[in-house]
Amino acid sequence: MQTNLLSIATNAKSISMTDKINHPQLCQWLNSVAHTRDKQAFTHLFQFFAPKILRIARAKFPNEAQANEVVQDTMSNVWRKAHLFNQDKGAATTWVYTVMRNVTFDMLRKIQGNKEDNLSDDIWPVAENMSSEGETFDDHLENENLLSVIEALPQAQQDVVKGFYFREMSQEQLATHLRLPLGTVKSRLRLALGKLKVQLGEKHD
């Protein structure tokens, strides 16, 4: 981390973002967790975020066990939802903050009124546009070209292509998952592949 004590102590608010937090590093760890379930990367993320989350949670929950629960729940969500993080949409800190705020909100609602409705993800969606895919499985990709070509497809076709190739879901599973008729999944996939062939043919000659 590139900082020096003096500038932090005297001029904290005017330092630009990247000087204080190593954002590219956090992004990289989060992506490693998403792509390869990298436990080492997760440990780094944990060491960075957990003490801070604990501190923030202690301010909101007088009960120590509850504060610990916020850390536990937030970090498990980071582990389980890392593939929903999209670095094009914002910083890793922003995404983890959203996860933490949502856990906190649901817990407060639960404690205050015994309401276990977990509304937070509806109020503050953790994934953009419900598409959980994003760049999730790009370790399967040859290069970024393919991804950018796929992302240029209409959303409906993207969903099918990503589900089928990156998540390795069957067409039947996809139909259920996307709540579409099987025929629609098949035709979208066909359409999308046709377009991909044309696009990639152009780029790979």
């Binding site: 981390m1 975020f49 498990s76």
Partner: protein
Amino acid sequence: MINHHPKFELIQAFVNGDLPASLSAGIAIHADMCAVCQQKIAQFTEQVAENSFEEEFLDRFIVDDNDALESIAAINFDHMIDDIVQSSDIDIAIPKTEKSIEFNGVKYMLPSVLNNMVLSKKANIGKLTRTRIQLNEDEIHTSLLHIKPGGGVPEHTHKGFELTVLLAGSFHDESGEYVKGDFIMLDGSDQHHPVSTNGCLCYTVANDALHFTQGINKLLNPIGSFIY
């Protein structure tokens, strides 16, 4: 065009997660329709996140209980990590389902924020139809309120606050015309008489009964709590 937006203080509280679910949902519904507020929320969230996660880094140089915190927590933290990474589950985001609700024979798409909230049965009074959204927030009442063309709510004030987010249609009161997406927050000092010429559907949050202020309508006061 949307003309009425949440104040910045409300957006701040929203981002911090400090508002009740009813008001949070109101802001989320508005932001879904309002690119300006969406942008503000995104920027402020980024800023708050940045501050949240750098603060302790600063504290390390200023206060000294950080070591204590980490040493207490270190043991638990290792267990926690092991515990978490043991699971190979991932959460798949399920595509948002679209729900609709019918009032007066017209189907309206429900804002997705409300998808998992429990709606109670509709109740009618004159040209108003109301369905309560069961958020169980004590004195705060959240509803969908439908006004048929030509309907309105008699002139009233509020003992507390009254939030209206227009989901469809339009209405007007003494202060002007309101359109789809408008976020209208009133408090006890505001007195108004909303009328919808062409009908509308609103998301409403109020923390107390309406108080009707004029003539015969005062007789309605006992049902003030019915409407909002």
